[in-house]
């Protein structure tokens, strides 16, 4: 059984992974423009997989005109992130690091956990700095009202991005703790003595004392 503390943070990490995964299907950034009478003029939502989407079925000219620049996050990054999520989830559900006799086999799960955390960090930090701000998409939330026309522009991070930040804070303790643990502890295999015996068998010269005794006894009997 895991200790209560580590179990708690393992649950945190599982939640973090699910939240990370869910965030892929939610909006990461929202850009809207409303008139003074609260009529929706422009609406764009950014999703990490689908890119910019608009709820308008018949797209008006102004909506297209104010379409934000495409944020080209490479698809490979998302795929690697998902791969790391799947591997970490497998490790979390089917393996127990505290009870194992094969700690080395956990290295790959530890690295996949670290991968998930790095991607959480990447999206949490790099996404606004490298993708949003250079495209004049204000961060985290801004409302700009144009006094002359009364047009209100809303710039806001979406629930997907917020979930990614929450996932980072949930994932960090478990991942950091087990990375540190793996660095600090090394498993001494129980079969070390057996292994040494095997090495000795190959190393030492074979000596069959029974055979030598038998040879001498035969010779003595012959005499």
């Amino acid at each position: 059984m895991m200790s209560r503390i580590t179990l708690l943070f393992k649950i945190f990490f599982i939640c973090g992974i699910f939240i990370s995964f869910t965030s892929f299907f939610l909006d990461w950034y929202i850009f809207q423009v409303n008139t003074a009478t609260d009529e929706l003029l422009v609406s764009w939502r950014y999703n990490i997989i689908a890119g910019w989407t608009t709820p308008f079925i018949e797209d008006s000219g102004i909506n297209q005109l104010l379409r934000p620049y495409a944020l080209s996050i490479p698809l490979a990054v998302n795929l690697i992130f998902m791969g790391a999520i799947v591997l970490s989830l497998y490790g979390l559900i089917f393996k127990d690091i505290e009870n194992t006799d094969e700690m080395k086999s956990f290295i790959k799960f530890n690295y996949s956990n670290l991968g998930v955390l790095i991607f959480n960090g990447f999206y949490g930090f790099v996404f606004p700095v490298m993708y949003l701000i250079p495209n004049t998409l204000y961060f985290p939330t801004f409302t700009i009202t144009q006094l002359d026309s009364g047009v209100i522009s809303y710039y806001s991070i979406g629930i997907g991005y917020i979930l990614q930040l929450i996932a980072f804070s949930l994932n960090f303790p478990y991942v950091a703790f087990y990375m540190d643990t793996m660095m600090k502890f090394e498993k001494r295999t129980h079969t070390l003595e057996n292994k040494m015996e095997n090495v000795l068998e190959h190393l030492q010269e074979p000596l069959d004392l029974d055979k030598l005794i038998a040879q001498e006894t035969l010779q003595l009997e012959g005499e």
Binding site: E98, L165, F177, L207
Partner: protein
């Protein structure tokens, strides 16, 4: 094969060979037994295997082991007389192609038994549970003093004092070992060297585990650190967001006035959490 069984068979073989006057067989057996024992000692001490393909002799291998341990722990595993006797016997044995005078055969058997009596510790299994607790106490000891005084990573003001004490103990053991080889003292000397090295270079020191992680006392006590990592994670997150907003301010200066409160909030809370983490979880490591 157990030592008792070997002894019984050897006794019988010596008796039979004496009757048949086949001393060459006894010479060969004495060399094989000694050679095997030396291989075993080398393996236990973690030294490279004897290079039999290059016809590395037993005494050369013994000298190599002595050289290595003289450098590492200032202890000679094999006494000079022992090595010299092996050298003498081995050279005659090789020169005469297996023939050896009776007195040398006796010497070889006594060397074999002397080697067997040495009970060299297995370095690979050196740290047992008892020592792990000792190691944990050592860490706890330095931790008690380093809370207020630590200046460098993983080191405390008292580390030199501990190292000095360790060196004293080590030297006393080395002196004892020079007089007569004692497996327990030798093991202790090795262990002191290991602790000394780990104190001098803490980053590379690893704690060996016998059973599962959950049964290890050091691990059990260390689980509280996870709360520290939680604080660290939150502070990293907040500081990163703060840096993001600072970057935004530089790129879009018109937001300067609006972002001030946010920056204060992120850096302030993040900094406080980081400070708390360092004070509570980091300084006592």
């Amino acid at each position: 094969m157990e030592d008792k069984v070997i002894d019984a068979k050897l006794k019988f073989l010596i008796y039979a060979c004496k009757q048949t006057h086949n001393f060459k067989k006894l010479a060969v057996v004495s060399f094989i037994l000694t050679s095997n024992e030396i291989d075993k000692i080398g393996l236990k001490l973690g030294v490279r295997n004897r290079n039999k393909k290059e016809k590395e002799s037993i005494f050369e291998y013994m000298e190599t082991i002595n050289q290595l341990f003289s450098k590492a722990v200032m202890v000679e595993i094999f006494k000079a007389e022992l090595v010299n006797t092996v050298r003498e016997c081995e050279l005659i044995f090789v020169k005469n192609r297996g023939e050896l005078p009776l007195e040398f055969i006796k010497s070889m058997f006594s060397i074999y038994y002397a080697l067997r009596k040495m009970h060299v510790p297995n370095i690979n299994l050196q740290i047992n549970d008892e020592k792990l607790i000792y190691n944990a106490n050592m860490n706890a000891f330095s931790f008690l003093f380093s809370q207020r005084t630590s200046k460098t990573k993983g080191s405390s003001k008292f580390t030199p004092l501990i190292l000095h004490k360790l060196r004293e103990q080590e030297q006393s053991l080395q002196q004892d070992l020079r007089n007569s080889f004692d497996a327990v003292k030798f093991e202790k000397a090795l262990y002191l060297t290991k602790i000394k090295n780990s104190l001098e270079n803490r980053k590379s020191a690893k704690i060996a585990l016998e059973g599962p992680l959950k049964d290890n006392i050091i691990y059990q006590y260390s689980t509280n650190r996870i709360f520290g990592y939680y604080l660290l994670g939150l502070s990293i997150l907040l500081i990163s967001l703060g840096i993001g907003i600072v970057a935004e301010m530089f790129l879009l200066p018109l937001l300067m006035n609006t972002c001030g409160v946010l920056i204060l909030l992120y850096f302030g809370v993040g900094g406080l959490l980081l400070l708390f983490y360092i004070k509570r979880f980091r300084s006592g490591r």
